[in-house]
């Protein structure tokens, strides 16, 4: 008797016991659906974080100054001197000071406009280039020039069709000369990436009275030097602050690693839950199959009398168990995927990992194999005469 025949027999017998077969499957269905939905949630939430971190770029180091009480600050010039010294490793560096200002041009006033104080390299690091005029120059930094580069949203709001270059706007009352307009980035709406004014960081420190620059972004020329450069920066910062708690240097790979660790742990926990729930489902399957073997004792006797071998009976019951768990696994996957798209997608982007599907389906089959073998073995070894006498 071949596999196809056994499969047909198994399906027939499962189908003629629909209700019970479904109940038998339920444990597997719930287990698999839970795994798919939970991993979908985990992957969805990490993917959105990963995306934002990856947009930073792999060669970027982000330096945060945490120390607030120190009078030993690191200024743009200090950091610039350091990066110039290490020009073989570091290709670019930009500080950032973030602020908001009330902006005034003639009679137009706009409140809470996003102002970034930074350096010439900021354009390259953040891919924000000018479409008109020029960007901040090193000279502007040195002389704390009151010049500004504006985003398209600001340009539209204050100048409409007229050319803003050369005009003077007031940021919190201080006049700045516009020297450039940025290329449009995200549609030019209010509050978006284009609603921004960029000024030299040295000027910003003075205007906003924020003496300390809290953030530096460093671009490392070769990705294999990221770790080395990071260590170098940390040494440099330690010399100034004499405390490791005063600063943090991140690279995006590091953050991704941490995130991967978390995802891995999450997967492990989910996997554990899945294993337990599927084991419980498996015990249910074994239980019901044992009942089924007892109920079908006579059938088994008849089959043996008319020529079924042990192996035929064994494979018939094994395949029945595998079809039940396999079908349960498939239904569970469908329900899990449904849950990801219908429910979980409201919270995080829907992510479906085929690996988890294959894994949970495979595990369902393994459960069928594991818990089907004992009842099937019992069925195959029934004595045909006693089985035929069974009422």
């Amino acid at each position: 008797m071949n596999f196809l025949q056994s499969l047909k027999m198994a399906v027939t017998s499962i189908y003629s016991n629909k209700g019970r077969s479904f109940l038998t499957m339920l444990g597997v269905i719930i287990g698999v659906a839970a795994v798919i939905a939970a991993t979908g949630f985990a992957l969805g939430s990490t993917s959105s974080i990963t995306d934002s971190i990856e947009s930073l770029g792999a060669n970027k180091l982000s330096v945060n100054i945490l120390d607030r009480n120190s009078n030993r600050d690191i200024d743009y010039e200090d950091f610039k001197a350091f990066t110039d010294e290490n020009a073989d490793l570091i290709s670019m560096m930009a500080p950032t000071v973030n602020g908001t200002s009330t902006v005034k041009y003639q009679t137009t006033i706009s409140e809470a406009v996003n102002v970034i104080g930074t350096s010439p390299d900021y354009a390259e690091i953040n891919d924000m280039h000018v479409q008109d005029g020029r960007y901040i120059l090193e000279l502007d930094m040195e002389y704390r020039q009151k010049i500004a580069v504006i985003g398209t949203a600001v340009a539209n709001e204050f100048f409409g069709r007229t050319d803003p270059i050369g005009e003077t706007i007031k940021l919190d009352g201080t006049p700045f000369t516009i020297v450039g307009v940025l290329e449009q980035k995200d549609g030019g709406q209010d509050g978006g990436e284009d609603d921004v004014i960029i000024i030299p960081v040295t000027t910003a420190q003075r205007v906003y009275k924020s003496a300390t620059i809290r953030t530096f972004t460093v671009l490392v020329s070769e990705s294999e030097n990221v770790a080395k450069t990071q260590a170098l920066i940390e040494d440099f910062l330690f010399e100034t602050y004499l405390s490791e708690d005063a600063y943090r240097v991140f690279n995006s790979a590091q953050i991704l690693d941490t995130l991967e660790d978390i995802t891995g742990t999450m997967a492990l926990i989910l996997g554990g839950i899945a294993v337990i729930s599927l084991l419980v489902g498996g015990i249910g399957i074994m239980n019901i199959m044992l009942v089924s073997v007892t109920e079908r004792t006579r059938e088994i006797g008849i089959r043996k009398a008319i020529g079924a071998r042990k192996s035929s009976i064994l494979s018939q019951f094994m395949i029945e168990a595998l079809v039940i768990t396999g079908l349960g696994g498939l239904i569970g996957i469908v329900i899990g995927v449904g849950a990801i798209f219908l429910v979980i997608s409201n919270f995080v982007p829907p992510v479906i990992d085929p690996m988890w599907m294959v894994l949970s389906f495979g595990f369902s089959l393994l459960i069928g194999l594991l818990f089907g073998i004992f009842p099937a073995y019992k069925a195959a070894n029934l004595n045909p005469i006693e089985a035929l006498r069974y009422e």
Partner: protein
């Protein structure tokens, strides 16, 4: 006619608690191809036990058994299953059809275990159902058939693979007298077409159809005679 069944000094004892039941107590039996034999005896005399031995469903405690030229005394489970599949057709008192399968599927079942292709199986099963006069009921489930029809399906199932021996253990026991006679007439016809039939019954009258009658009591053969009509 050549030897089909050759049993020598076969013994089988069942132990039920402290009771020992000698179901077969030294049976010698020779059956040739093409015979129609009845085995009669009171209930509990060992008829079914003998049939199970002939049908290779059970192994004796001692004695030898050659079936169709093959020594089956020392065969293992797997070999016995193959022998049953190839050489034996069983008809039981209680029909023993699988209730969820149609008549056709029931008849096909032994052919599946023999490994015939789907097409060949269909062909053989339909032919067997035709032989028992059920060509028009092939898609009925057992519950949709009368007792006589169910037993015909069972006979068709036993015949389908053309085994050399047809073993019928009280095939009329669950049927009314007339239907029982119909089944016996059918067996007679099948015998006339060349099949070897071993009919077990406790009813001496029913046994009258057979050409040779064997009487068994307390696990021993006490009569073995040709019946002249």
């Amino acid at each position: 006619m050549t030897g089909l069944v050759d049993i020598n000094n076969m013994k089988k004892t069942y132990v039920m608690g402290s009771n020992m039941v000698r179901a077969l107590d030294g049976v010698d039996l020779n059956i040739k191809h093409g015979e129609y034999i009845s085995i009669v005896g009171p209930s509990g005399s060992g008829k079914s036990t003998l049939m199970n031995m002939i049908g290779c469903l059970d192994a004796p405690d001692s004695g030898s058994y050659m079936l169709d030229g093959v020594d089956v005394s020392d065969m293992n489970d797997k070999e016995l299953a193959e022998i049953r599949s190839e050489k034996i057709g069983f008809v039981f008192q209680g029909f023993n059809l699988l209730p969820r399968l149609t008549a056709l599927e029931n008849v096909e079942l032994p052919l599946i275990y023999r490994g015939y292709s789907h097409k060949k199986r269909r062909e053989m099963a339909l032919e067997a159902l035709d032989r028992v006069g059920l060509g028009d009921r092939v898609h009925h489930k057992p519950t949709e058939l009368s007792g006589g029809q169910m037993q015909r399906v069972a006979v068709a199932r036993a015949l389908a693979g053309n085994p050399p021996v047809l073993l019928a253990d009280e095939p009329t026991g669950n049927l009314d007298t007339n239907t029982g006679k119909e089944i016996l007439a059918m067996l007679e016809k099948i015998h006339d077409q060349g099949n070897t039939i071993i009919l077990i019954t406790h009813d001496k009258e029913l046994a009258g159809q057979a050409k040779r009658r064997i009487e068994i009591r307390d696990g021993r053969i006490i009569h073995d005679e040709e019946v002249r009509k």
